[in-house]
Symmetry: C2
Subunit: 365 residues, 2 copies
């Protein structure tokens, strides 16, 4: 097969072995992401179904329940924690502010339910460690919700790197920026700028984690050290160090990633891996802008760009993520981005924030 054919070939669902089955979900946290992305993505999935929704208010939970045929129960957080309706779901999707993940994962572990938990795993390394320990003690499957790891273009990029398409990978360049500043300037109590809820900060925790983790995934290498520069200019970001951040991450394979994250810049994402013999780029990426393209450059002129034609990109990525999780849980096999994987990013995130504060290179444990 030529490299052109290889590039154009979809790597979608190279992970799938499940042929039939259904994993019933309780959705924890009914913010816009759950309502507009997660629940519709599950409706498109092969192996998942939303049967329970959990919110702070009984009314909201009931309203969302009534809007979807598959949903049997609407619970408050307290009811969920207390073990209501455990017969109605097999797994939970945790999509609350970072600092609330632990409580609901601990409850799910007590109820013996599998967990798909949004990233970053928690607000701090310590809390994430406790979260992972709770899942381990409860002997429940735990996946950190990195939707990039089930994006077909990202999986294709990883496969091409493994196949030597760019020679030896040498450096990663990635950025993810958006205009969150507009949202939080209107809504100053937004949890993303509240250190008690968000954790270490606002842009690296929320955005920088995308290139950070995508590099880990496509290089198959762990981060070993970080450096960073952060700034918060807007009033809305005065309680966190990073309205915007540039950071460097050294990986164990000798590559180094240069990354940019900003909550006060045009919506933009790009991710490149430069190697001895070529360069792979996905652009745009991370923010579901379409058409997302995968480009391979080799030699001086040769450039091949593939658009696989997906247009509802975020929805598609979430569907892939939910079905991947179901495939893993229902077949009782190990999960790629498991709790330990998510915990390692928490350590890297902490190192990035420490590096910016101290103005020095910080090793990642």
């Amino acid at each position: 097969m030529t490299i052109e054919q290889e590039l154009a070939q979809q790597t979608a669902r190279d992970w799938q072995e499940l042929e039939a089955g259904t994993l019933r979900f309780a959705m924890i946290g009914l913010g816009w992401w759950t309502l507009e992305e997660a629940i519709p993505a599950v409706e498109q999935s092969d192996f998942c179904e939303t049967t329970v929704v959990v919110s702070g208010g009984a009314e909201k939970a009931a309203r969302v329940r009534d809007e979807h045929e598959s949903i049997e129960r609407g619970l408050t957080y307290d009811e969920f924690v207390d073990g209501a309706a455990t017969e109605a779901y097999d797994a939970v999707y945790v999509c609350t502010p970072n600092a609330l993940h632990k409580e609901y994962v601990e409850a799910a572990a007590e109820h013996g339910k599998a967990v798909l938990c949004e990233k970053p795993l928690e607000a701090s390394v310590e809390r994430a460690e406790e979260l992972v320990a709770a899942a381990r003690d409860g002997d429940i499957p735990l996946m950190t919700a990195y939707r990039m790891q089930t994006d077909p273009d990202v999986r294709r990029m990883r496969e091409l790197i493994r196949d030597g398409a760019i020679g030896e990978p040498l450096a990663v360049e990635g950025h993810m920026t958006q205009t969150m500043v507009e949202v939080v300037s209107e809504d100053t109590s937004n949890w993303r700028v509240d250190p008690d809820m968000a954790g270490y900060g606002a842009s690296v925790m929320d955005l920088g984690i995308y290139p950070l983790n995508t590099a880990r995934f496509v290089l198959d290498a762990e981060p070993v050290a970080a450096q960073a520069s952060m700034r918060s200019d807007s009033q809305a970001f005065s309680d966190v160090p990073d309205e915007a951040a540039n950071f460097l991450v050294e990986y164990a394979d000798g590559t180094t990633a240069s990354c940019i994250a900003s909550q006060n810049a045009k919506l933009s994402g790009r991710f490149s891996v430069i190697g001895t013999e070529g360069e792979l780029t996905i652009e745009p990426i991370f923010l579901a802008q379409t058409p997302q393209t995968l480009t391979l450059r080799r030699g001086e002129e040769q450039s091949i760009t593939v658009d696989t034609g997906r247009r509802d990109l975020m929805g598609h990525e979430m569907t892939e993520e939910f079905d991947y999780f179901a495939d893993r849980v229902l077949r009782e096999v190990s999960i790629g981005p498991d709790g330990e994987h998510g915990l390692q990013d928490m350590r890297a995130l902490k190192a990035i924030y420490d590096a910016a504060e101290r103005g020095e290179r910080v090793a990642i444990e």
Copy 2:
């Protein structure tokens, strides 16, 4: 004028006021760059002429002289320093290994000749300071040869940023990589991997200086602090710290640049400025790969890409650079990238190398 029209409009020679005149050059150093790029570029120029060539060997100087009609004299370095044929040229182009710049600029200053000196200005801050002082004492015009500053796409990018096309600039992303490792592995005495000749290192001095200086130019902001990560894996680069480097530079306007330089990666260059309302990218850039395109992205979908059609890009950039210098010298007006400008990059380069060595953020004086 619409932004589309503005983008497509060439910014070429917005600097030119000279209508006639000729600046006669002595070319100092007859390596491949001078022979294959500089002399042909001068032949294409409006206001420059090569009349003298200077090399280590009298034979080589004579051979190059005989190959070009305009060239009257071929000199050895010693003859040039001693003041031979000063009536035959008005200015010198210094294109020797970094650590030899000072000696020839000092000689040119003694002879009262204008100097166009390749970047980086010298091998160290101290030597660059002495070089700049010599030019000042001799009251001669001195330009640091940043060909990006006369590239029409780069000038257009700067103009668009000034006009607010991307709102407030927030972050710069740039990389420049090439396969120099192949050259220096064959030629282990190559000056680029000899600290006595190259100075602080190999990739940031030679390549990283491009995004570093291009960011200064388009942002019109000075670098204030640096962080970096460097590595040398190949035997050929064992005497320098940076076969490859990732570095962060903070600028006085609050923007931060994330840059990558490598002498052991596929030939590749890209330069982006991300702002609150848009993003400007030149890709490819720095290495004369064509078609070089300038792209402006605003809003979520709007993307405009312009290829101005140049194909002999390096030659064209060098022609622009020489004519810009002639325009400045013959009209006796100030030069944008003058000696002080080049010296400031030397300070930034030193800070980048110090930061990598010390593993900490280093302020730039």
